[in-house]
């Protein structure tokens, strides 16, 4: 029983076409968008979305969700930023703290869900509130700028050669993201962790009866998600002038939306990290690109919503077709 797979049946390919279409439309209608600096700034603001999305792909494949990543990343960036400002904490250590903080919150989420059996929506809603609460207790914090001591961390995302108008800027962060995507795609498809993540989303009972330590891997899916939320915190701190307390709610929705656009099944059990990258790009293009063609940024939410409905409908249609072929 071999099946012909046309390119069009691969959601990732459709998403790629959408991205190309969007870029072409923007380029035609907006001279501004054609500038290198615009693309650079768009990329700058995409990294934290991409990182969050890579992470949250895993809980979503287990048929769960993580709502705490948006407020979480603001919380981590604030706390670590404060340590840099007030306690002369080296930036490298602050970055590590971001990641560790993310891992801890991820482990809490994972334990609540995988071990204690709370519904993912509820458990992560709670940690979402808690991290937002913590961050509202911390003063608004700018991380060091490019020229300040410790500003080197910007070069993880953007290498700058020369100064002033002629400075050459390379969006190295994109490369970093692509590498992470490829690594996590490999992890998803070729490691035990990845395979059991799919198994949990597809048939958890069967996985348990096969003697797999399901609880451990279920927790790990959220730990990985938290780890990437921590990385996203660094990317976020690198692009916003000041991290504002008590914010971040809603950021996770762009990432989660991107994952679904990228083809992760709404019922779990199926997905790809490469798809996630493509999906997030659609969201980012809608978010940052629409103003270039004269549409208010508000439209982004509406259009994103519509795009998401389309993406989920493709998934539903696919499942239905598969069920019929049997």
């Amino acid at each position: 029983m071999t099946k012909k797979k046309s390119l069009l049946s691969d959601q990732r390919f459709i998403v790629l076409l959408v991205i190309i279409a969007l870029v072409v439309i923007y380029m035609i209608f907006s001279p501004e968008f054609r500038k290198y600096s615009s693309i650079l700034s768009m990329l700058d603001f995409s990294y934290y979305d991409i990182l969050m999305a890579i992470g949250v792909t895993f809980p979503l494949i287990t048929a769960g969700v993580d709502l705490s990543i948006g407020t979480g990343l603001v919380c981590y960036a604030l706390v670590a930023g404060r340590l840099v400002r007030d306690y002369n904490c080296p930036v490298a250590l602050a970055m590590l703290i971001c990641v560790l903080f993310g891992v801890v919150v991820g482990a809490v989420n994972g334990t609540l869900i995988g071990v204690m059996g709370l519904p993912p929506f509820l458990a992560t809603l709670c940690t979402c509130m808690i991290t937002r609460g913590i961050s509202s207790m911390v003063m608004a914090t700018p991380w060091p700028t490019n020229k300040q001591p410790g500003g080197w961390f910007h070069s993880i995302f953007k290498l700058t050669f020369g100064t002033g108008r002629n400075a050459l800027k390379i969006p190295i962060g994109f490369l970093v993201c692509v590498i992470l995507v490829l690594v996590m795609e490999f992890v998803l498809n070729h490691t035990k962790f990845g395979r059991y993540t799919i198994g949990i989303g597809s048939n958890k009972e069967a996985l348990t009866l096969s003697g797999v330590n399901v609880k451990f891997y279920h927790v790990m899916a959220y730990v990985i998600c938290g780890l990437f939320a921590g990385l996203a915190a660094i990317a976020y701190a690198a692009v916003v002038p000041t991290v504002q307390p008590g914010t971040g709610a809603g950021l996770e929705l762009d990432a989660i939306g991107g994952v679904f656009v990228g083809g992760v099944s709404a019922t779990g059990g199926y997905g790809s990290v490469i798809g996630t990258l493509a999906g997030v790009f659609v969201i980012v293009l809608l978010k940052t690109g629409l103003p270039y063609v004269g549409l208010q940024a508000n439209w982004q939410q509406i259009i994103t919503g519509i795009v998401l409905i389309g993406a989920v409908m493709i998934d539903v249609a696919k499942r239905r077709r598969m069920a019929k072929e049997q």
């Binding site: 029983m1 070729h190 395979r195 198994g199 048939n203 348990t208 096969s210 003697g211 059990g269 598969m322």
Partner: protein, 498 residues
């Protein structure tokens, strides 16, 4: 006789309100097939779950290879060499066959799972078992029968010393069962100990060496298979001789009106130009191998799958059926072979399930009339003799036979006159099975018309007034019960193959 490799003694287990196992004894030797039998809720599955660490026992001892053991989970039991092939299929649909077989013990190359080796090993395994399955196929693309074969292959691939088959044949065709028996005999030759749980008396006689019978959570006794008769076993199980007597001639009146006529039905590869008639009060058996297109025919007729062409007449009038709602409107009910997926909502109560398809009948304005709903449910609980403490019981807590009765109740509440039973007794044991048979006969006598799809030859021959045989999507024969024999049916069911 060799000593037992596995002995369970004085096993006791209670759940809240139920004494599930009452000092049960069971043992199995190397190189034997030992049947474990008993009615619904007799405690067979519970006993096996205690053995493999899914449940913890309250008291008693398990001795395996001379040592007392207590497994904390299925993994530990597997590692020790005790493997269970579950009654419900336990496959991960989104993964491939090979990935499923080696789940939990993947071959590794450093961090990377060695999929190539897993595919090779699966191929070897399938070759050994003479099964034709591509290990690269996604599990959800396989038929139920093939999934079951994978489950068996998976169990065998553990270096198992004891294999427990929990109703392995429930989903298999006669041919596949033959293959299964060849495999089991082969394993027995190799000195493995095999526990075989089944409700099919014929199989027990053919394949097993000893039979242990359980009743209501207690141990009744152990018999040598060749020294006992079917009746001996049944008597031990239920204390009474059961089974409806097989039909020798059609009970349908010659002039009974045709209630359903299907002409030239086409729906994809699995349903090609199928025509048949169903008379009032008739039980029309649909026989054939797995994948013959019987379920597909039923689903297309019921509107669950789209059809490309074909006419359907109900009570002589041509009707359009494009969805299950249309079918139900014309009084056609469909009882799926996969109860849990299509038939019932297991996490809901009996009441909610019974009235699910007819809720509009029990409405007071926008509110559900709970009293009325409960009354009708209780009526059918009594009529169908559903074993349950109350109508508010969650369906998940019922045994397979009683779940099936809830599905039947659902359609009876709906007043359906044409009922399609797809594998009505799959996963149901002898006692409950006969109740289902009685029920079907009674329904037919009351003037309902029944299409019964079954892979079990004895069931087809016992219940049908007339038999339609299908093979590879085509109707290959039709026999009146008076002329039907197993050979004639098999001949037509395999006509196009070979």
């Amino acid at each position: 006789m060799a000593d037992a490799i596995l002995t369970m003694e004085e096993i006791d287990k209670s759940f809240p309100g139920v004494h599930a196992l009452d000092h049960v004894h069971f043992d199995v030797r190397c190189g034997e097939v030992h049947a474990l039998m008993g009615e619904n809720g007799a405690g067979k599955s519970t006993l096996m779950k205690v053995l493999t660490g899914i449940y913890t026992k309250d008291s008693g001892t398990i001795t395996f290879e001379g040592k007392e053991v207590e497994f904390a989970n299925t993994r530990e039991a597997q590692d020790a060499g005790i493997v269970i092939v579950h009654q419900e299929l336990n496959m991960i649909g989104d993964l491939t066959v090979a990935q499923n077989i080696f789940i939990g013990r993947e071959f590794m190359k450093g961090f990377k799972i060695d999929d190539k080796k897993m595919i090779e090993e699966s191929k070897k395994l399938f070759d050994e078992l003479h099964i034709d399955i591509n290990p690269r196929d996604k599990m959800s693309d396989l038929t139920v029968g093939k999934q079951q074969m994978c489950e068996i292959a998976k169990a065998i691939s553990h270096q198992a010393k004891v294999i427990i088959f929990d109703e392995p044949s429930a989903a298999l065709t006669e041919k596949e069962i033959e293959d299964l028996f060849t495999i089991i005999r082969d394993l027995r030759e190799k000195g493995l100990a095999i526990v075989y749980i089944s409700h099919r008396m014929d199989e027990i006689k053919v394949i097993t060496d000893r039979v242990t019978v359980m009743r209501d959570g207690g141990y009744v006794g152990t018999l040598i298979t060749k020294d006992c008769t079917k009746e001996d076993i049944i008597n031990m199980m239920v204390g009474r001789v059961i089974y409806e007597t097989p039909k020798t001639e059609s009970k349908v009146a010659k002039d009974a009106p045709v209630v359903l006529k299907v002409e030239h039905l086409n729906a994809g590869r699995m349903v090609q130009d199928v025509s048949f008639e169903l008379r009032k009060g008739e039980i029309l058996g649909f026989s054939g191998l797995m994948g013959a297109g019987r379920t597909e025919t039923a689903r297309a007729l019921f509107g669950a799958d789209p059809k490309t062409s074909g006419d359907i007449y109900v009570n002589g009038e041509k009707v359009t059926i494009n969805s299950p709602q249309d079918a139900v409107k014309h009084g056609i009910g469909y009882l799926s072979e996969d109860r849990k997926r299509y038939g019932i909502v297991v996490q809901k109560t009996i009441t909610e399930n019974s009235t699910m398809a007819t809720l509009e009948k029990y409405m007071n304005g926008i509110f559900i009339n709970k009293g009325e709903e409960k009354k009708i449910t209780e009526k059918y609980i009594q009529e169908l003799a559903t074993k349950t403490p109350s109508a508010d019981q969650l369906v998940v807590n019922l045994s397979g036979g009683n779940q099936q009765k809830v599905v039947i109740a659902k359609w009876l509440v709906r007043n359906c006159d044409i009922l399609i039973f797809d594998e009505p007794t799959r996963g149901i044991d002898v006692g409950a099975k006969n109740e289902i048979y009685k029920l079907m006969n009674r329904l037919a006598e009351e003037g309902k018309s029944i299409i019964m799809i079954s892979s079990e030859m004895t069931e087809i021959l016992r219940m049908s007034d007339r038999i339609v045989i299908m093979c590879e999507g085509k109707k290959t024969g039709e026999l009146d019960i008076s002329e039907a024999t197993q050979e004639k049916i098999m001949d037509r069911a395999t006509r196009d193959i070979a």
